[in-house]
């Protein structure tokens, strides 16, 4: 069942049409117990405002800061978070799961 993600994509469109530079983050894969299902979205603007969630709060901060780079470079990026990947990212999921999150600019 769709959740408020419905409004997140509508907001992404509205923000872009207002002239804000934005990125959309999407949970693409999960392993173990992950807090948000595959397909969940987070939309982020260049000022760091965001809507939605990809992890229920665990890694949003890191995704938002990565989104800033994605917006600046115009290049999409795949991020991985989880206890099994501590070397790549300092943030992790307290539930012990792993997720991959795709961050792409909207233009």
């Amino acid at each position: 069942m769709p959740t408020l993600d419905t409004d997140i994509l509508a907001a992404a469109e509205a923000w872009t049409k207002e002239g804000r530079k934005i990125a959309i983050a999407t949970v693409m894969e999960t392993w173990g117990s992950a807090p948000r299902p595959v397909g969940s979205h987070l939309v982020i603007d260049a000022a760091g405002n965001f809507l939605g969630s990809v992890s229920g709060g665990c890694v949003e901060g890191a995704v938002v800061s990565e989104a800033g780079e994605v917006i600046a470079s115009g290049q999409p990026k795949m991020l991985e978070f989880g206890v099994a990947d501590e070397t790549a990212w300092r943030v992790g999921l307290s539930c012990g799961g792993r997720i991959s999150v795709y961050v792409e600019p909207v233009a």
Partner: protein, 232 residues
């Protein structure tokens, strides 16, 4: 994602048409595939399966991987009766993700003031239901207590195989309803699928609490149709 693609995606969703966004991970290319375009797509088999299950996910291996974001129309909830419980239920159900419509021919009750933002069918079930088209992706909550209003909606929902049918009323009220439905030719099994008394048994008392009890039961019927049928 290109803005025109995002806009097209949102337009399809607003029109309640299923659509898949395909993201080719190697190239970063994205395309929108509507249901009638699935057969002609290079990833036709995977897209058809994704559409049938309504589930987003990764397909393919290695460099040929793609992510499918599947958007299927949200389940609908038809609420018969513009009563106090409905005023609490409608916004809660919308928040959960149901596409809520209110039906009540009593225009003094069914007003936009009492139900802000909720589409209202302000006429009798036999007038409005043909166009609304009840289906398996629709749940019915009958709250009027009035057989003239509830019965035709329940009968229509039984015929359409709605995923949830719940009806407000005491056991005595429901016993009479069961008699009427049986007289109309509905089977014992069909009638037993009606949730009555409506809502999970959580001791709900206020209209808001009853709305929570109903909504929890609707979610269970949608998410676990095999385990928590409406009659559970």
């Amino acid at each position: 994602m290109r803005l025109d693609l995002l806009a097209a995606l949102n337009a399809e969703r607003a029109a309640r048409r299923p659509v898949i966004l395909v993201t080719e991970l190697e190239s970063g290319e994205e395309r929108l595939v509507t249901a009638d375009q699935v057969a002609g797509d290079p990833r036709a088999a995977a897209l058809a399966a994704a559409l049938a299950s309504g589930t987003s996910g990764m397909v393919g291996e290695g460099a040929a991987r793609a992510f499918l974001t599947v958007h299927v129309p949200p389940p609908r909830l038809l609420v018969a009766g513009a009563v106090h419980i409905s005023q609490a239920l409608a916004p809660m159900a919308r928040m959960v993700g149901f596409d809520v419509t209110l039906m009540d021919p009593r225009t003094a009750f069914a007003t936009q003031d009492r139900f802000p933002g909720v589409p209202i069918l302000a006429d009798w079930p036999d007038v409005v239901l043909p166009a609304y088209r009840l289906d398996a992706f629709t749940g019915l909550v009958a709250l009027t207590h009035d057989p003239k209003l509830d019965d035709p909606a329940i009968a229509g929902a039984l015929e359409a195989g709605c995923f949830y049918i719940g009806a407000l009323g005491s056991r005595r009220t429901h016993a009479k309803r069961v008699e009427r439905l049986a007289a109309q030719g509905f089977s014992e099994r069909q009638i037993a699928s009606i949730a009555a008394p409506i809502g999970l048994d959580i001791g709900a008392s206020s209209p808001e609490e009853i709305a929570v009890a109903i909504l929890a039961q609707v979610i269970a019927a949608w998410r676990r149709p095999d385990r928590d049928g409406a009659a559970a």
